[in-house]
């Protein structure tokens, strides 16, 4: 039993938690950066050296060519592995991810910044929608679990949870863009509208975002409904719910006790879900030709733009790490048991 000051969050505990997360997150980012470095260097044909040599052939002096290549990839084309590695990590520390080859001269960070909007907003919208929908349906599936409807809900959850994201996306497109074309089949916005704060442009943006967001939503809805159902069933069996009824608490209060206790553990999977959606964004953006990070990654690979590839991969990782930390902090704030550093 902890006899901490009741009810007061222990700032020390939270700080330690954040610290642990940061250390783990940084370790994660470091591992991923190292993987990118090794891969870029080991790609058959050595694109870094190739670029350097082709620049010399174009008449550049070796020093100039060396510098130009370093700007591109973040490390010098010559020198041993260790020097290159230090150089690469050094530019990363300065938030320099190099320059793109396929869009010549543009910094990788700029391209990623543009693409990130198209990924982050739909992912967040999809997460929020699927969470709300899944949690509501999960409560329903738990309460009606011995009936036909509950069975159907649970099965739909298992199926959607099991089916890969691209199947959902492709089926939605096949139905709503090909067979019954009420939705655009791809792209972020119709070209005839002038970008800006006008009804036509924004309407077109939303119109184009519907199918991707619905795909994100359906892809993670199944997980939420299954998790919520099993949590509600577990909490329904807890003594304190019966105790609350026996004390004559109003239905609303009992329901709130039930819902809050059942939802809480879901916040631990929120992070995983966001990570999964970031991964899924690769398929969704490819299917809907949506110019986000996933599409950027695929395109960078097919156009052999390796600096862009490494940078995008790194930023997706950072996004997942940040989502992890955010979800865990949220959990810490909501659960008094974790908050006061007591039994988890």
């Amino acid at each position: 039993m902890t006899h901490a000051v009741p009810g007061r969050p222990r700032l020390g505990a939270i700080a330690r938690k954040i610290g642990g997360h940061l250390v783990r997150g940084l370790a994660m980012i470091w591992v991923v950066a190292t993987i990118s470095f090794v891969i870029i260097r080991e790609i058959p044909g050595n694109p870094v050296l190739g670029q350097y040599e082709s620049l010399i052939q174009k008449g550049m002096s070796p020093e100039q060519a060396e510098r130009a290549t370093a700007v591109l990839y973040g490390f010098l084309p010559t020198g041993n592995l260790w020097q290159q590695y230090v150089g690469y990590m050094g530019s990363l520390l300065h938030l320099d991810l190099g320059r793109s080859l396929s869009t010549p001269g543009v910094e990788v960070t700029t391209l990623i910044g543009h693409a990130a909007r198209w990924t982050v907003l739909p992912v967040l919208a999809g997460t929020l929608l699927s969470f709300l929908l899944g949690v509501t349906m999960g409560v329903y599936a738990a309460i009606k679990r011995s009936g036909k409807l509950g069975d159907m809900l649970a099965l739909s959850g298992s199926l959607l949870h099991g089916v890969p994201v691209y199947v959902i996306g492709l089926l939605l497109t096949a139905v709503f863009a090909t067979l019954w074309p009420i939705m655009p089949s791809g792209g972020p916005v119709d070209v005839e509208f002038v970008p800006g704060f006008n009804a036509g442009y924004i309407g077109s943006l939303i119109h184009h975002a519907v199918l991707p967001v619905v795909t994100y939503t359906l892809a993670s809805y199944g997980g939420w409904i299954l998790a919520m159902k099993s949590n509600v069933v577990a909490v329904l069996g807890d003594d304190f719910i019966l105790a609350a009824e026996l004390r004559g608490l109003k239905r609303g209060f009992v329901f709130r006790y039930l819902a809050r206790n059942a939802i809480l553990p879901l916040f631990t999977i929120l992070a995983l879900s966001i990570g999964m959606l970031f991964g899924g964004s690769i398929f969704i953006e490819e299917i809907f030709n949506y110019p986000g990070l996933g599409l950027l990654l695929v395109n960078s690979i097919s156009s052999r733009d390796y600096a862009l590839m490494g940078g995008t991969f790194l930023v997706i990782t950072v996004g997942i790490v940040v989502a992890n930390i955010a979800a865990d902090l949220l959990y810490t704030v909501i659960d008094p048991r974790v908050r006061s550093g007591g039994a988890a």
Partner: protein, 342 residues
């Protein structure tokens, strides 16, 4: 404590359980967990109910609030509480209002009877709002008083979450929540199980004190004969869903008439004397599925089994304030009776 002396003047309500039968739905059909139980709780007394696990005592306790959980169902009978009527006919909002307000319930394993995500104080306010308490400040004051009586720092406890309290403290919080709305009938289901000896003794003392101060009618369910001997005025012994013996606690324990009660008492190890004198009851208690369909439920383990026990279920006979349901005890009695008449 003027409020408490005032409470004394109000008559404690009586509770009459009549012919109560509770069945549980099983793959083998509906089986009775409680069958034909008659039990009267005299106003202002503490009645103890003892029995092994599976004897139906917790089901009986839940019936007092019409709260038998599925797959269980109250099949027949009535539970009349003075000033409330037959609880078993209450439905919906009426039933909800009776729970907590008129009948307080201290949950089995009350350690787990609190919402882990809310402070005790907030749960107290939820309780007050559920029962339309106007004066929430007064409610909090009352709760603090009760907690203080039980030896706790009220303000601090109300500010705590469940996980910040020890098992004994949670148990006392459970008792506080059952009493704070001034319920006159209080049901305690296994109030001392899973607590250490010292805490057990404290809780039992508190139950006794509060009971007397507030003029309550109290039902204590337990499998601990020792605990019940300390607090109860009268004692009911349950076996296989029946009340086999009921009477004043000193008489039932001092001069048991039912062979099962006698066996229970023999099984108590004495502090002084030879430990080998304590004899465990032979055999195992029946479960829902192994209850005999006819005859006496206890006959398998009974040393005074007779032929009639195989076929006829003994009826509960009331004589000089004591009820016994046993052919053997019965015959003994009828013999005496006959003598009186001859």
């Amino acid at each position: 404590m003027t409020a408490n002396t005032a409470a004394r003047d109000i008559e404690a309500p009586g509770v009459r359980i009549r012919d109560l039968t509770v069945v549980y739905k099983t793959p083998a059909g509906e089986l009775p967990a409680v069958r034909g139980v008659d039990l009267a709780l005299a106003p202002g007394t503490i009645t103890g109910v003892v029995g092994e696990s599976g004897s139906g005592k917790s089901t009986l306790a839940l019936s007092l609030l019409n709260a038998v959980q599925p797959p269980g169902r109250i099949a027949a009978g009535s539970v009349e509480i003075d000033g409330l009527g037959d609880v078993l006919t209450l439905r919906g909002e009426d039933l909800r209002r009776a729970r907590g307000r008129q009948v307080g319930y201290v949950f089995q394993a009350a350690q787990n009877s609190l919402n882990p995500l809310k402070t005790i104080g907030k749960q107290l306010l939820d309780l007050g709002r559920s029962h339309e308490v106007e004066d929430l400040r007064g409610l909090v004051r009352e709760a603090k008083d009760l907690l203080a009586r039980m030896g706790m720092d009220g303000a601090r406890v109300l500010d705590s979450y469940q996980h910040e309290l020890s098992g004994g403290m949670r148990q006392r919080v459970g008792i506080m929540l059952a009493l704070v709305l001034n319920a006159k009938v209080v049901v305690l289901d296994e109030p001392t199980t899973a607590l250490d000896m010292i805490t057990q003794a404290t809780i039992l003392r508190i139950i006794r004190e509060v009971h007397e101060e507030r003029a309550l009618t109290t039902l204590v369910i337990t499998h601990d004969v020792g605990a019940v001997a300390e607090v109860a005025d009268s004692l009911a012994v349950m076996y296989g869903g029946r009340v086999v013996e009921h009477g004043p606690v000193t008489e039932v324990l001092g001069e048991a008439r039912h062979p099962y009660t006698q066996g229970l008492i023999r099984a108590i190890p004495r502090l002084t004397g030879d430990l080998s004198l304590a004899r465990a009851l032979p055999g195992r208690p029946p479960t829902l599925g192994t209850l005999p369909a006819q005859g006496c439920v206890f006959r398998e383990r009974c040393e005074r089994r007779m032929e009639v026990c195989e076929t006829d279920e003994p009826v509960a006979v009331n004589r000089d304030g004591r009820t016994v349901a046993c052919h053997a005890a019965d015959r003994h009695l009828t013999l005496i009776k006959r003598k009186e008449f001859v």
